[in-house]
Every structure is written in structure tokens, then in C-alpha cells.
Symmetry: C2
Subunit: 409 residues, 2 copies
């Protein structure tokens, strides 16, 4: 889909009127930044999508309740990293209320206008004294250049920060969209990603904005998987504030929103724990889009496919086997399969292919994160249907196991 | 459930009248045994359950068709290991027909009475000349002591063969049930396991037998997971032949059938690729049995839970997070959780627990496969509901990744 958006710097604070900050309060043993704050302009609308897990953190409940009660309005979001504040019972909710009230007081807002996201170890409460003591320096650091610092402060096992901003001329005015995200493990979002925040300096009615955001999330964060584990804290919050945009530009705005969301989602998959490449699975010729996406995500999430990619082994049988268990009806005798430019199957039957060249294709895509050629592309044609779908993930390495065997000890 | 069954030796050929053999035809590069044959007595009924994957091997189609056409009767099953003969198109079906016809000729059976199972690399056809040349020595080796040789010949990445036999006195007569299975990776059976065969020397009407077998499979092979990948070749075949058993003994027979199936299923989970322990997840107090099993299997299949167990890390938050995404409704505030005898949660809230003792519990269960103390037990109480469910799996190790990164190259 061609769109008028071009990348600019500035991340979350590239859109006019948004302030952000990231500081170190001392919540993490590592001493890395751990507290981020975003302040949106007066009148901002806010759309949220949240984990579909039945077990969700108090902060997720609080965000969902406040957005529902306000009809999609909020002014600020605080993010703490180090403790997920999930499975912490009544204390978890009390702590979330205390933190948002303390932030509201310092920003002259009502407590209901402040949201909170938490990420880190499940079951561990937030050291409240440390967090609250960090709020004054955090608020003092708010600035129109604070996007980068905020993007750093929300990370946990991530190796790299994830942010982007886009700009377009819509009907003679400049519109900007910015975003940041974090996530590296426990990534199989269902309605949202681990944590993501987006800003936009065009005004959009709250209900239109929520619908746009939900569609963009379906095509981005809900299309990635690192390990099949949906988090208790998945939250994506998207703020829009500014002069109202004419409805004739909504399609263009949604294209930008989708582009920012997809960039962040792919950055999370790229930075998947232990990953050495980005895995992109494109499904074409399916009967409907939901089925196409389900097949793409099932292949992308298959441990055996991920191990084969890690070993740079063109073991294509595992790809077709994974498609077969996606719960989507298709004709196995119509399937065609490509690995990069190498066609491996046609009409459901294996083709003779140059195994050495296919292995070389995989090895070349191992160059490391954030390079142009780090993407291993699998393309599945299911038949002659009209629908396409895509999913992003990463390979499964020994390193993933080491990271997650030793996480809390 | 107390039952009258006691273990005996002999595996698949412990029941009276069954002959088996396992030989080396040269289908595997390793030179290990690769061809197994089971011959059931005249009049045998045969129940089958098969992979629910849309992409399934020609041999699976053939077994399902023949059992449907015969109303649940078959006399023999040939198993070849080394090539899965899945995704091999028209040639795959032709080869399966040729092999079963060649076996039938040598056994004086109709081709329709012979079934075939294949396991190995997907997309690779069977070297037909090698296989057919191996049939005469295989048939010559058929014997009432052949169960052990057959159990060896069906293995692929398995480290150990999997077989068992049970005996009971039912109404004054001795009844025996034997079984063998293989499987180590691509294990998330849906309707059956990778490959399993069971024998019983009591006669049972075909429809009763199929219903019993389906229930036993639900409580055994469909309750294990190694890596979430359902195979293209999953097949479980259960033969019964002998004097008809009185209906008053059907419950006892089903208990034995379930015991044999669970033993084999747990043996597969124990021998999961790279596994260092058996993981058993018990769910209690659920609203219904299907939901209890779904929660158990989701926790058992969580990469993060499996990594934590591998690291002997009592990171219980991941267990509750996995339960939350199982798609089953429960009250998170009613959940209680135990790791072995260590209670970690009550009423949805974390308890203070002795982390060193819980880690020691996990480390002690690492002693290796097939020891009594190799089972890590996770027990989840969801509420006050009447239903229970159990699932078995294994930890996720660096070794799993190495095995599957290098499988075909």
C-alpha cells in the first residue's frame, strides 16, 4: 500500500505538543533507566488495546477501566520497568492507584487522566518508595526531545530500543506519528504487544481513533510471535491530539499508523530473545484474511521451523506441517512454497531445488539485527483465494533457552 | 483409579497370538533397525486415531480409508522409519499401496488387511527397492518374541525404545495388553501420537473397541506435548483379537488400555528431544474436564515454563501467565499453585516460599530419564469445580535447539 509517510527522528515526541522523559529511579538491579513518562496535550484522545489473557496485571485493568470511563481520553502514561506488578493481588491495584495519583498531583491532572504500564518479573511488587522518590526528577525531565530517553527506560531483556516517527503532508498540513515499544520474550500478543505507546498530532474523534488503532494492531503487534507466550501486561496505548483532521485523510492517517505499528512490531520480533534473524512469513491465495494470518503466525511460531531457520537448514517439510495444524481449511495439493527466491514446492509436491543455494540464502540472512538483509522470507501460496496475511517472528536459538532458564535466579 | 493390571514383559507380543519382527533394511543412514511388522490373529479388530493436521502423509490416508471400509478390521501393520513419506504427492500414495501389497502377498492376506506407518524426514520418498528387498527377511523374523525388535525398529531421534505390557485376570481368564510407541520431536498429538501400536488378546466388538481407544488416547497421547508441533504422520493403531470378553469387564479392560497408553505417552514426553526431566501438570477444581486438560496442556507447552524448569528456576509467574492464555474461563483470584509439595500461591496471590528448597526440588528431579524421581510436578487448583486434567511434557533445553537446527543437514 503506497502512502505519503516519510521517516523522521524524534520518536514519541516527534508529534507537536507531546513531552516525554526517561530516568533511572533504581527499580532495576542493573542500574539502567527504569521510569518513563509521556504527557499528551490537553484534549488528547487515547485508544488502548490490552492482553486477552485472563491473568492480567492490575495496571492493565486500571488502564482499561479509565479509558472506558472517559470515553477514550487520557493525558499521561507512566511506565516502570523491572517489576510487572502482575499476580500481586490487592496490593498490586493499590500500588497502581497510588502511583497514578502521585503522577497526577505533580502534573496538575486528575488521577483518572493518568495511565500506568509495568513490565518485568511477574509476581514481584513495585518497590513503591523507590518509584515515588523518582517521580520529581522524572517530571522535571519532561521535554519535547524526551522520546529517546523514554524508549530506553521501558526496556527489560531487550537488546535495543525500539522507536520511530513518520511525517506526511495531509491536505496542506504536516501530520506526525511517533511510537515506541519494548518486548523480547513472552511475545505472542493477543490484542496488543508487550508495551507500546504511539503519539499523533492530528485530532481524531475518539471512536474513529480506537477503530483505526485496533485494525493497525491486528496487522502489526497481533502478527508477531517470539515464543507463543502471551504476556499478562500487554498494553498498547495510542494518543492523538491536535487540530481535527478531515475525514478525507483518515485512510492516509491509518496507513501511517499501521506503518509505525508494523515497524515497532517487527523491531520486537527482530530483538526476540536469542534471535539471529527476522522471520517473515507471507501467506497468499487464502480464502480469507483471518485464515491467512493464522497460517502465517502458526508457521512463524513453530519451534521446529524456528530451529531449522536457526540452523540455516531448508527443512521445508516443517513449514508445510505447521501450516497443516493452523486450524484453517485449505487444499494441500494446491500449496506452493518459496524460501526467498527459491521455490521448494508446487501443487503440493516437492520440487528439486539447490539445497546449497537455499542454505546459503539462510546463512546470508544471519548478519545480525537491524541490517537490511536480516530477514528470512518464507512465502506460502495456499491456492487461488483473494486473501493475504503476514506474520513476523525470529529463529529459536540455544541462547533463548539460556536467557529463560536463568531469568529470575 | 485402582485396576487389576500388573506389568509383564514382552511388549507388543505379550498378548497371545500376536507376532512381530524388527529388522534393518538399510533405510536409515545410521544403519539402525528401520523396518517393523506386526501380524495380528485372524478376526482381529483394529481401532485407529490419526493426526488432525490437514497436511498428512499418504500412509495415514491409507490406514484411515482401510479401517473405515472394513468397519475396523485389519491383520498387519508395517512401519518404516527414516522417511515420513509425507508431502510426497501421488508417488507417496503409490508407494504406500505397493508396500502394503507386497507385505500382503508374503503373508497370504488381502492388501486391504495391511496397514502402513512411516516416520522420518518429511518430503523424502521411501527408497522403494531397499524397502521391498527387506520384506522377506522381515517376514521370516516374525515371532511371538518379536515385540522388542519391533519397538527398536520404529525409532528416529528417540534415545530409548518405548514398550510395555500388562496382564490381568478378568472373570477367571488372563487378558494381556501390549504396546509400543515412538516419538521425541514434533510432538503435540491431536487425535493420536507420532506412532503407537497396541495389542490385546481379548475379543471386543469393533465399535466398542474404537470408543475405548478414543477415550484412552484423549487421556494419554492427546495430553502430551514436546514442542507444540503436530506431526503429519501421527497414527495410533490398537488391535484386539481373542475370545470375546464379557461386557461386565469392559471398564477393567479400558483401565488397562488407558494405563498402557499413558505409560507410552509419558515415555514419549520423557524422551522429548533434549529433555532432562518429565513435566507433569495437574489441574484440579476446574469447571469441566476439557477445560482442565486445556489449561494443563497450555502450561505444559509454554516455552517459558519449560525453560524455567530446565534452569531449575521456580519462576511460578510464568505458570499462571500460561494458564491465563489457555482460552478457558476461571477466576484468577481463586487460583492456588504447588510445585511439588511447595505451595507458591493461594487465592490468586503469591505466598512467601522457600526459594532455595523449591529450586532444590527442581534440581533433584533432573536425575535423568526413567528414574522414579525424574518428574517435576506442577499442581494448579483453579477453584471449586469438579473437574481434573493432566498433561505431560518436558523441559526445553539448548540441546533441543541443537537437535532441530541440524536435523536434515
Amino acid at each position: 500500500m503506497p502512502h505519503p509517510w516519510t521517516p523522521i527522528s524524534g520518536g514519541l515526541t516527534a508529534p507537536a505538543g507531546f513531552l516525554a522523559a526517561g530516568t533511572t529511579a533504581g527499580l532495576k538491579a542493573s542500574g539502567k533507566p527504569d521510569l518513563a513518562l509521556l504527557l499528551a496535550p490537553e484534549g488528547a484522545v487515547c485508544a488502548g488495546t490490552f492482553t486477552t489473557s485472563l491473568v492480567r496485571a492490575a495496571c492493565v485493568d486500571l488502564c482499561a477501566q479509565r479509558l472506558a470511563a472517559s470515553g477514550g481520553h487520557a493525558r499521561a502514561v507512566l511506565t516502570n520497568s523491572g517489576q510487572a506488578n502482575a499476580c500481586t493481588g490487592a496490593r498490586g491495584l493499590a500500588d497502581s492507584l497510588t502511583v497514578t495519583a502521585a503522577v497526577a498531583e505533580r502534573l496538575n491532572l486528575a488521577p483518572e487522566e493518568v495511565l500506568i504500564c509495568s513490565t518485568g518479573v511477574i509476581g514481584v511488587p513495585i518497590p513503591m518508595h523507590t518509584l515515588v522518590a523518582g517521580l520529581d526528577p522524572l517530571v522535571a525531565a519532561l521535554s519535547p526531545e524526551g522520546g529517546a530517553a523514554a524508549a530506553q527506560a521501558i526496556l527489560t531483556t531487550d537488546l535495543i530500543d525500539k522507536q520511530i516517527a513518520l511525517e506526511a503532508n495531509l491536505g496542506g498540513r504536516t501530520v506526525r506519528i511517533g511510537g515506541m515499544a519494548k518486548g523480547s520474550g513472552m511475545i505472542h500478543p493477543a490484542m496488543a504487544t508487550m508495551l507500546g505507546t504511539l503519539t499523533c498530532d492530528a485530532g481524531v474523534p475518539a471512536d474513529v481513533w480506537q477503530a483505526m488503532v485496533s485494525r493497525a494492531v491486528d496487522r502489526s503487534f497481533n502478527a508477531i510471535t517470539v515464543d507463543g507466550d502471551t504476556s499478562t501486561n500487554d498494553t498498547f496505548l495510542a494518543f492523538a491530539a491536535g487540530e481535527l483532521l478531515g475525514p478525507e485523510h483518515f485512510d492516509a492517517l491509518e496507513a501511517g499508523l499501521t506503518a509505525v505499528s508494523q515497524h515497532l512490531a517487527k523491531a520486537i520480533a527482530r530483538d526476540g530473545e536469542g534471535a539471529t534473524c527476522l522471520l517473515e512469513v507471507q501467506v497468499e491465495g487464502a480464502a480469507d484474511e483471518a485464515g491467512a494470518r493464522a497460517i502465517a503466525r502458526t508457521v512463524c511460531g513453530s519451534s521446529l521451523v524456528k530451529c531449522a531457520v536457526h540452523g540455516r537448514d531448508p527443512n521445508w517439510g516443517r513449514i508445510v506441517a505447521a501450516a497443516g495444524r493452523a486450524g484453517v481449511l485449505f487444499d494441500p495439493n494446491a500449496v506452493a512454497l518459496w524460501l526467498g527466491d527459491h521455490q521448494l514446492m508446487a501443487a503440493g509436491q516437492p520440487l528439486a531445488f539447490d539445497r546449497a543455494a537455499a542454505s546459503a540464502y539462510l546463512r546470508e540472512r544471519a548478519a545480525g539485527a537491524y541490517l537490511q538483509d536480516d530477514t528470512v522470507q518464507i512465502r506460502l501460496q495456499m491456492g487461488a483465494g483473494p486473501a493475504t496475511g503476514v506474520a513476523w517472528g525470529c529463529d529459536l536459538s540455544d541462547q533463548y533457552v539460556r536467557i529463560n532458564a536463568d531469568y529470575t535466579t
